[in-house]
Amino acid sequence: MTATPDLATPPEIGGIGHSVLRREDDRLIEGQGDFLDDVALPGMLHMAIHRSPVAHARIRGIDTEAASAVDGVVAVVTGELMAAHNLAWMPTLSGDTQAVLATDKVRYQGQEVAAVIATDPYVAADAAALIEVDYDMLPAVTGPQQSLSADAPLIRDEKEGQTDNLVYTWESGDAEATDAVFAEAAKVVTLETFYPRSHPAPLETCGIVADVNSVTGQATVYLTSQAPHAHRTLFALVAGLPEQNIRIISPDLGGGFGNKVPIYPGYVVATAASLLLGTPVKWIESRSDNLISTGFGRDYHMRGELALDAGGRILALRADVLSDQGAFYSDAQPSNFRAGLFHVVTGSYDFAAAHVTCRGAFTNKAPGGVAYRCSFRITEASYLIERLVQNAAYEIGMDPADFRLLNFIREDQFPYTTPTGFTYDSGDYHTALRKAMDEVGYTELRATQAAAREEGRLLGIGIAHFTEAVGAGPSRTYDIAGLKMFDSAELRVHPTGKAILKLGVKTQGQGHETTFAQIVASELGIPVTDIKVVHGDTDNTPYGLGTYASRSTPTSGAATSMVSRKLADKARKIAAHLLEAAEADIDLAAGVFSVRGTPERSVTIQDVAFAAYTNMPEGLEHGLEGVSYYDPPNLTFPYGSYIVVVEVDAETGVWKVDRMVALDDCGVRINPMIVEGQIHGGLTEGFAKSSMQWITFDDDGNCIGANFMDYLVPTAWETPRFELLETCVPSPHHPIGAKGVGESATVGSPAAYVNAVIDAVAHLGVRNIDMPVLADRVWDAIESAS
């Protein structure tokens, strides 16, 4: 690896550290974005899906006659037809199989049963509603405890060898050592809490336009995809199409947040229909389709225990999780880690022993556990430890901030290996928390809180200090469905010095077209306005695993640096040739190559680029382009200290956020403006989940939360104002020291909001209120405590 270059650039070049305005905005503010539903191809047909209205039932028969008779209907597809093409079932990302269109049973409300292809979307929807299915009702299983009880009906009766509803068991850490510490502990603090099912709900739902040419065999698939390359490979494997003939184009995405990582049955049906009919087929989910059937987040029933010594030091942690997987096991998780990276649950604290167990259970609920704006179950982990730590402080009689400062991993302990095997790269937790405390005026606030209590007012101060593990690979450890997690960047500098950068990842609003250009601008000194960033088209970008788990900057961003450095090495040779100097004497800073000692002898990157095509030194290949595949040596570990101040109305349980102070350390910030935007969004999602946003089910398995009237997403009116702070401890192993930030605030903030509400009523003895912390739950907690 070349030595780290000087990355400083003036604003006109706009490299790392500049809040460059976003390049993608120009088209988006004029309504010229190109979203999936904007794709219209000649002869395109429209698909609508008929879904199960019930959670668990055997299918006796499907009557498609009335639907087929509707004028404009071209085809009605059932599981039987799919089965004839061996496509009634498909593999999931977690090695299970999932029904594409149900043939034997329906296993959750909203499951895909049939599809109608028609000339018009209204007609397709009309006809889908006319499909009649004869169901033989079965009892619904709506929770993992019920699912794992001895008398629960078997949900996956079709699955060979499956005799109960257990999906998996998984553990991490050292049970024996942990038990030994617990046996000797001065105090043990326990928390049982449920992290409810949630849904990423990007404002653009999922969709596909499949265009399979029956003559050439070329399949052009427009897909709402966060991982187009991975999806191409999986399409090849599932549909048996030759991979060179599949081109996935993921256009502008209206948000993703994990929802656009899996492959959904509708994609398979639309592609098969296009293949069979020889015309393009479009399918766009309705909002209820989206909320009722696609990748959900969380649904973790968690129990955590901390062992403490008499002085308040944490000695060990035990965590046990029951995970509700829904009817098919289709998590998007690395295959070695059934519970994702949940074992990062030891958080920001220094102690020696931990043991984590997790069981997954099938239920009659939608499948597809995705990491909703987080890295593989890290939000659940962060929530559990930060809630536990606050309760531990109460039990030991310490202030929750002091308790954290006492137990934090110290700056001099990094790189720090946790008892469950992560090696945290860098951090200074004490400085971060103290800075956030200073900003919020922590000491005075505690005094205000005490005074308010005297007057009968309930003020709460909640802290969460999270540590995330993001940016997967390394590829030796992390994969999705066997595809290893590295990522890529390809850079071409044209003769006039303008460049095109192609990425293996795919933006959903994070601003890759700007920030990745800024990396090149810093490395090579090409102005950011001279760099076009291409992504989301598998025919035109190098292979990569896509954008989720805050991995784009840690992986593809690193690849962008590395490929720029490859080109800088070659450019230095060309500059030496142009300047008639020794290569070793050439310095590069902000796009100018100069001879050390005589800086007036210089050429620009633009001169060098032109020479790369017109005046090459002997022995060098023409051109100035390259590709890098970057396999990170470790994850990166961003962290933050969040402090929330709330006031709770004792009469009604309604709570309101007075302050939200959020300090984030994500290493080096490429574009500070964009980083802050990401944090705003994440803090809002954390607020959403802690206050209102959840999906639940009644005893019959009816989904409550199937539209935006039931699934409450905060508007501008409810959303709090945020005060942001930062520190910067770079990642030592990332080429530009960046760690990734897209999900930090979603991961870290739920515990801060909930801790604040609990803190307001902790003196009454309240230690837990499950999310969403609805007013009636708070009121109940106050009533039953007093």
Binding site: D25, G255, G509, T684
Partner: protein
């Protein structure tokens, strides 16, 4: 049925189904895809257009109801080749991320500024409370509309 609408200043007549929604009329019949669809319960607001200058959720208005009226979509915000102040402000204040809610947010912001050139933060938040955004947390959307208001007052 025949529906005649002036869209972004241009009169258009199309023969459409009586049940066609205005949002589909705008997107599919007229071909202006800057207006989006995000829900089926009139909740998200990404379909917002201005009907005679007033924001409406075009998923809940029939094309037939717009007959004889003026509709403004995001494509009509720019005038004489100049971006509208809200468009500039959204870019300059990072008021958008994925951009899916943005056309609607800008139209609501523009309509608000027509009637109130100096809205308070609460007035802005109330005005956009029928429009969801999943990316920005609204902070920079509010800031953008404030900036556009300031720009408007300075003119």
């Amino acid at each position: 049925m025949e529906v005649s609408v002036t869209i972004n200043g241009t009169a258009q007549s199309h023969d459409v189904e009586a049940r066609q929604l205005l949002v589909d009329f705008v997107r599919s019949t007229v071909g202006l895809t800057g207006t989006h669809i995000g829900c089926d319960t009139t909740s998200c607001g990404v379909c917002t257009v201005l009907l005679d200058g007033v924001p409406v959720k075009a998923c809940t208005v029939l094309a037939a109801q717009a007959d004889g009226h003026e509709v403004t979509t995001v494509e009509g915000l720019k005038a004489d080749g100049e971006l509208h102040a809200v468009q500039k402000a959204f870019k300059e204040n990072h008021g958008l991320q994925c951009g899916f809610c943005t056309p609607a947010m800008m139209l609501v912001g523009a309509a608000l500024l027509e009637s109130n050139d100096d809205p308070t933060e609460d007035e802005i938040r109330w005005a956009i409370s029928g429009n969801l955004c999943r990316c920005t947390g609204y902070m920079n959307i509010v800031k953008s509309i404030q900036a556009a208001a300031a720009e408007g007052r300075a003119q």
